[in-house]
């Protein structure tokens, strides 16, 4: 949908992921979509160089989110949110509805 605007499908997915979940590690983003981590990392590096995403080291991993200081963040978020709203239901359920609220320890799954 927005892949032409963002350059490619992976870039679109990475941005939608960060809008949807708020943050993400390259490994989990790649696993979420079933794509290579190197592809995801390449796009994240490109987007970070452009100031669109920002990262922070967490242990040995780098955690990414949309850059809160990017001047067009509000407009970008709004666009991504519209795209999330327009996704087919099966795509939404497959990629954008992972549980992120905590589960109490010892809870039966």
């Amino acid at each position: 949908m927005l892949d032409s605007l963002f350059g490619n499908k992976t870039s679109e997915r990475v941005l939608l992921y960060l809008q949807n979940y708020g943050e993400g590690y390259p490994t989990e983003i790649a696993r979420n979509f079933g794509i290579a981590q190197s592809q995801v990392q390449k796009q994240l590096t490109r987007l970070e160089q452009g100031g669109i995403v920002a990262s922070q080291l967490s242990g040995r991993m780098r955690n990414y989110r949309l850059n809160p200081r990017w001047p067009y963040l509000k407009q970008l978020s709004s666009l991504l949110e519209k795209a999330l709203l327009s996704l087919p239901r099966d795509e939404t359920m497959s990629y954008y509805r992972r549980r992120t609220r905590p589960r109490r320890p010892g809870k039966k799954l």
Partner: protein, 176 residues
């Protein structure tokens, strides 16, 4: 021991009724309230009751209806549901304590639970603070199925500092 209840509503009534004999009050919260208000559109197998009673008293009451402790939960061999008593107080995001405003009549038992408006706020709190969109969908489903006060929810969302996410909720609701 035979299954104590085949439905979440039935079990909620039983778990309300039995501890009440010992003066223990409990409020049903969480995903089961969503199930009840959406006619099982979202099914939950965990019943979460907030109670200020200590665990030993709750455990004694639960054992009378055949539930045994299993970690932090209570389980019954013949029952598909687990029951938990998370530590209170009842809260909706940053707002606490909260008085549950919902009542559900099951046979002769009145179950105390979150009202539909509170249930939407409870689910939205997970979306606002943990980016959990499963809960966003649940909030939308409850708001669609029940009469809720959007003004109360909007004011609360503002207090939670989540006005933008409240707008996302409204957009998903409009889409339905």
């Amino acid at each position: 021991m035979k299954s104590p209840a085949a439905t979440a509503k039935g079990l909620a009534a039983l778990v309300t009724k039995e501890p009440r004999r010992d003066g223990i009050s409990a409020v049903l919260t969480g995903g089961t309230v969503v199930s009840i208000y959406t006619n099982n559109q979202y099914e939950s197998r965990d019943l979460d009751f907030i109670s200020s009673a200590d665990r030993a008293r709750i455990s004694a009451a639960m054992s009378r209806i055949g539930f045994r402790p299993h970690g932090r939960s209570f389980v019954h061999e013949e029952c598909p549901y687990t029951v938990e008593f998370p530590t209170g107080p009842l809260a909706l995001g940053e707002r606490q304590p909260v008085k549950a405003a919902g009542r559900l009549q099951v046979g002769s038992t009145v179950v105390q639970l979150l009202s539909p408006t509170q249930c939407v706020m409870d689910r939205l709190a997970w979306f606002f603070h943990n980016n959990d969109r499963q809960c966003l969908d649940q909030a939308v489903a409850v708001a669609e199925s029940q009469r809720v006060s959007m003004n109360i929810i909007r004011d609360w969302a503002k207090d939670e500092g989540a006005e933008e996410k409240f707008e996302i909720f409204l957009n998903f609701l409009k889409k339905k």
